[in-house]
Amino acid sequence: MHLAEKLVARAAGREAVTPGEIVTCAVDLAMMHDSGGPRRVKPLLEKLGARVWDPDKVVVITDHYLPAADEESRAILDTARRWVREAGVSRFHDEQGICHVVLPERGHLRPGLFVVGGDSHSPTGGAFGCYMFGVGATEMLGVLVTGEIWLRVPQTIRLQWEGRLADGVVAKDMMLAMCAALGMDGGRYQAVEYCGEAVRGLGMQERMTLCNMAAELGAQAGLVAPDETTRSYLLQAGVPDTAIDLARWHGDPAAAGAEDHRFDAGALAPQVAAPHSPANSAPWDRHGPVSFDVAYIGACTGAKLSDLRMAARILRGRRVAAGVRLLVGPASARDQRHAEEEGTLGALVDAGAELLANSCGACAGYGAHRFGPGQRIIASTARNFRGRMGSPDAAIYLGSPYTVAAAAVAGRLVDPRELLQ
């Protein structure tokens, strides 16, 4: 069996499962945020007169309506704060950062878990060898009441990256190249597994970037088989060593792949997605001359500590080009603190960055930072759908934190490898 099948079989209480069959799985952990979480499920639970099946298996994290810009946003956040108390949910992280980054950093994930999240970027948890996927609020209600969810056992699509990435080329570039190669529905709502030498060489936050954007491939889950890199991250996050089973959670070498795609990491150049789809990706120099009004380092996809370090490596001792705004919204409070202590954040601020809150910010398009018509933005985020971050006539490009930082310095699209220091 593949890793995805082993994870699903365990949650379904079965020895083995076959792709395509429908099974019912026991949920080990359910994560919600302020937008799709308590605000939506509380009235449904009340209508049913039902209680949460196991409050110890629920994590709530606020990240969408922060900072609260108006009455509606404040009310949504207040609902979350009140509900966790009423429901007896103790694993509540308020204003600590974006759910997909906070969840593993606080030690809630470990290999083998079956997890649902009330957000489409929930496949991020697959970086830790969890089967984790996104669901809507009514589906979450079903989980909260029963502790179970149905699933069509996924096929596995293996995305093999052989060779080693060049300096300045990172997980985000791999991901944009895969979006272009496979399309936004290439994942067919199955499980994608990232493997090969280049994937094994990535740190945990880089693996999270890959799994996070399994959503942009249209996959249900994105997985990386856990290894010693996983173990050392989890130990730091407070997970006891005895809870980390590396031997069990990998695919059998002889398991037949439904689909295999091979990529050459050594040949990969920095990638940029043109408006209005991540699938409009190509090497940075294929887009012709593009200048920018805003460079945005943000979101769970592109503003973790590893992402901030990439940006700092370009921006240290330099200034953002005249006429360009550089916005930086560190993905978690803890990552921001580390970045501050080690001087990474200082390098960004000295270069002229404006700091945003530890929240979904402009990426979700829910809050105050929305881009106007005619503006050209380059962002380290996951999605550049028309209108998502503001006006339908804003032009959003996507790139790695290196590429975004280099564009901020040059005021236009350039090769970030030439600005590495």
């Binding site: 429908i22 449904l44 009514t138």
Partner: protein, 163 residues
């Protein structure tokens, strides 16, 4: 008469439920449903109409308001060659019929379209063509016909109380 509203590939959840209105209730979100692609849709769609999508309809976010906005406007079904996986599940959970139909692209805007969710077929009364589609999974049919997960759970709960 079920009037067909026809759209292209990759209609995303931000188009169906724009982020700027997500802090409001479904009435307000539904008023802006599809606005970026077709500003007339929300004002002119009538109860019982169907939406014909292209590939990967509903890709993107897990926000179920994307499906709920359509049910709020009275849309009876979305028929498309393929769907975003989370949208598909959300739609069924909210009682919105979603039918995977390879030939959806043959329907033209304004055609009169009927569907049979249980058998898995679509009939275009305007052209006389009948298309097969992937039926809704057996284990979910009762839930969809009850109007979604909430009515289904409410009914089951009342049933339990009677016993």
């Amino acid at each position: 008469m079920a009037h067909a509203w026809v759209y292209g590939d990759n209609i995303d959840t931000d188009v169906l439920a724009p982020g700027a209105y997500m802090k409001f209730g479904i009435e307000e979100i539904a008023r802006h449903c599809m606005e970026a692609v077709d500003p007339e849709f929300a004002g002119r769609v009538r109860p019982g109409d169907v939406v014909i999508g292209g590939r990967n309809f509903g890709m993107g976010s897990s926000r179920e308001q994307a499906a709920q906005a359509l049910t709020h406007l009275g849309v009876a079904a979305v028929i498309a060659p393929s769907f975003g996986g989370i949208f598909y599940r959300n739609a069924l959970n909210l009682g919105l019929v979603v039918l995977e139909c390879r030939d959806a692209g043959r329907v033209r805007a304004g055609d009169n379209v009927e569907f049979d969710a249980r058998r898995g077929s679509v009939l275009n009364r305007s052209s006389g063509e009948r298309f097969p589609c992937v039926p809704i999974p057996d284990h979910l049919l009762d839930m969809v016909e009850a109007g979604g997960l909430m009515p289904f759970l409410m009914r089951r709960r009342r049933g339990t109380e009677r016993k």
